[in-house]
């Protein structure tokens, strides 16, 4: 959504005297008219597009008189992270603190899944399955693959559990905490239908709750079952959509998680109701400190690792999440863009389907000109998984360099030594959410005695 521009650049026939309503702006009017015409809520991909407090509202202080910086390129700044140290016999070791988030085969094409595996493997990190089960493309090209256990259990089987490197129990997703997945009929091809055991062409609505457990006490037993099936080898993640991160983190620890994946409301989705994406959940920035506090109070910070996702775009976002206490971050939408999603080279084709490069979010329709979020074999064939993998590797390594650059500037020889003390906030809201001082003050709203 763009703000109304009173200069007229944003409206072809605007002239002085035409006053646009702030609440009934053109996007709002368009949506009312669309709903009246089509009789269904707007479903789309991507993540929250509304303006929210985010990592851009934080700044690193950098070294100065009292802090000693490290030489860029010369002095070591470690980036590796080990996940699953609490219970798993075989924790996973990542070279970089950035993982690839769960995205389903079905939502993405087979070649796109392959590219995610290739790129992640080149960069020394993990990729993750999704609501469609595990494909040979991604297993074969992913050195470290996290296998999701979702409410739908599409394709779930013990063989894939055993050949996964970690298991992620998905309780919720930042784009839709409390909602199940959707995959509309256009993308239920023969192969997708077979993998999910569903009729071809239906509008598939995944369950929003797991079928065989209903709360943290049950989940603890479910995790015990998963560990027993896999002989206690695999790290078990619990993924939660950000809504009550303090309590959810504590319950996840109590349930036996090795790793917690906390997905803020800017997290991506392949297909969700717009009303859900934009109006449910907590901004990523607002949930990290709550989760970290919960871990610290339980004596579990760094023992149960925390992966933060939801709108992570670059090394600065990642470094700020790490400074707030995360062990790693995860990218989904950004990884798709790195592969080639919303590529301006396809401007003409985006225009033909009523969209534009940089705006395209109708991933559920299966018409993606780049061949990434589609099951159309002709479109999917456009996408080169080797090139996509190289692009993703470039992107992940660039992000890692950016994280190292900021960490060295703050005098840290390990990116996990970044800390809240290295940060200030540009707005009162972000200061309160991130629990760091407003820039130029010692004021942390909500925690500083005498503040308001």
């Amino acid at each position: 959504m763009t703000d109304f521009d009173p200069t007229g650049n944003n409206g072809t026939n605007w002239h002085p005297g035409l006053k646009e309503s702030y609440i009934f702006d053109r996007n709002t009017i368009h949506e009312i008219r669309r709903a009246a015409s089509q009789g269904i809520y707007d479903i789309r991909g991507f993540g929250a597009k509304r303006k929210l407090p985010h990592f851009d509202d934080l700044l690193f202080l950098g070294a100065s008189m009292s802090r000693y910086p490290l030489e860029g390129y010369r002095e070591k700044c470690s980036t590796d992270v080990v996940l699953g140290t609490r219970f798993a016999k075989k924790p996973i070791h990542l070279k970089i603190p950035i993982t690839i988030a769960g995205m389903s085969f079905g939502a993405l094409s087979g070649p796109a899944k392959e590219a995610l595996g290739r790129g992640a493997t080149m960069a020394g990190t993990s990729t993750t399955t999704g609501d469609g089960g595990m494909t040979e493309e991604e297993r074969g090209h992913s050195e470290i693959l996290v296998y999701q256990l979702l409410p739908s259990r599409y394709g779930m089987n013990p063989d894939d559990l055993r050949r996964a490197d970690a298991i992620e129990v998905v309780v919720g997703q930042g784009a839709k905490p409390g909602g199940g997945g959707m995959l509309l009929g256009q993308k239920i091809s023969d192969r997708v239908a077979e993998m999910r055991n569903l009729p071809k062409g239906i509008d598939q609505r995944s369950a929003c709750r797991h079928p065989d457990w209903t709360g943290p006490d049950d989940l603890e037993i479910k995790i015990q079952e998963l560990r027993e099936i896999t002989d206690w080898e695999k790290p078990i993640y619990i993924k939660i959509g950000a809504s009550r991160p303090y309590y959810d983190t504590q319950l996840a620890v109590k349930s036996g998680a090795d790793v917690i994946v906390l997905d803020g409301m800017q997290g991506g989705t392949a297909a969700t109701q717009d009303v859900f994406i934009e109006h449910v959940g907590l901004p990523t920035l607002a949930c990290i400190r709550q989760a970290v506090t919960a871990l610290q109070e339980m004596g579990m910070h760094r023992e149960v690792q925390l992966i933060v996702s939801g709108g992570i775009r670059n090394g600065a976002d990642a470094a700020k999440a790490l400074a707030l206490g995360a062990d790693a971050v995860s990218v989904g939408v950004a990884a798709m863009i790195a592969l080639g999603d919303n590529d301006p080279a396809y401007a003409d084709e985006y225009a033909k389907i009523g969209s534009a490069a940089g705006f395209y979010d109708d991933w559920h329709e299966g018409k993606d000109p780049t061949g990434i979020s589609t099951q159309d074999p002709e479109l999917a064939a456009r996408f080169d998984p080797e090139q996509g993998g190289r692009r993703l590797n470039n992107y992940l390594k660039t992000m890692t360099l950016e994280v190292q650059t900021l960490a060295r500037a703050a005098g840290k020889s390990n990116i996990h030594n970044l800390e809240p003390e290295d940060l200030v906030a540009l707005t009162i809201e972000s200061a309160a959410m991130a629990q760091v001082p407003l820039a130029g003050t010692d004021w942390i709203p909500g925690s500083t005695p005498g503040g308001f």
């Binding site: 013990p158 065989d212 002989d231």
Partner: protein
């Protein structure tokens, strides 16, 4: 030295669950084919993830997820089973001589689950190919979002049977308290008679095909339609 004809007896009062499950997993590579487990005392995650052609008899009541994700094995629980017995079963047979708690055979993808007694709520939830025969009654929300496979109920069914069902076949001999969204009574055709007859026979159920009614999907919710908003 044990031979394939010996019965391996494991007493869970003295053997840790982890050790038992590891031995059952290792049995894929050889060793005893017949197992008897005594003193289960409601243990959770018992005999889960077996991937071998074993015969496993559990003498007593079990906790959650007994024989979860079973492949190939024939598991008999001589007692009652807790939540999610046979969840995501792939193949083989699980027989419960008593009653089964909630989510019996949830998301099961193959094989056969027989409950000699009753099964509680959400029996066969999200089932994906498993065959389930319950000789007694089943609870509410059974076969919720059931995708494929067959559910046979020799007794009565609770409320909201087959809610949001896809292509699973449901046969009920007794009463149905209520049908869920998009689940309707359907004609019992020859194919269904044969399917039902076969399952009654393998389960050892004392019932006649003609006593059953068939239920399945009306397929009206397969694609979004705003006029069905109340049913979504």
């Amino acid at each position: 030295m044990t031979t394939a004809t010996d019965i391996e007896v494991v007493d869970l009062a003295v053997t840790p669950l982890r050790e038992l499950n590891q031995r059952l997993h290792d049995a894929k590579n050889g060793g005893p084919k017949s197992w008897k487990i005594v003193n289960p005392n409601g243990a959770h995650a018992l005999a889960v993830g077996i991937d071998a052609d074993l015969d496993v008899l559990i003498e007593g009541h079990t906790g959650y997820y007994t024989a979860g994700m079973n492949k190939h094995a024939n598991v008999t629980i001589d007692g009652n089973a807790g939540v999610g017995v046979g969840e995501n079963i792939m193949s083989g047979t699980i027989r419960i001589t008593g009653n089964a708690s909630q989510a019996c055979a949830a998301t099961g993808r193959g094989g056969l689950v027989v409950v000699e007694g009753d099964a509680a709520a959400r029996c066969g939830i999200s089932m994906k190919g498993v065959e389930i025969v319950v000789k007694g009654d089943i609870g509410h929300m059974s076969a919720f979002m059931a995708q494929s496979g067959t559910l046979v109920v020799c007794g009565d069914a609770g409320d909201a049977l087959g809610d949001s069902i896809y292509e699973t076949h449901i046969y009920v001999r007794g009463s149905v308290k209520g049908l869920g969204a998009d689940c309707i009574e359907k004609e019992l055709k020859d194919f269904h008679r044969a399917e039902l007859g076969r399952l009654l026979e393998v389960a050892g159920a004392d019932a006649k095909v003609d006593e059953f009614k068939r239920y399945g999907s009306a397929r009206t919710l397969y694609n979004f339609n705003i006029d069905n908003a109340g049913a979504y």
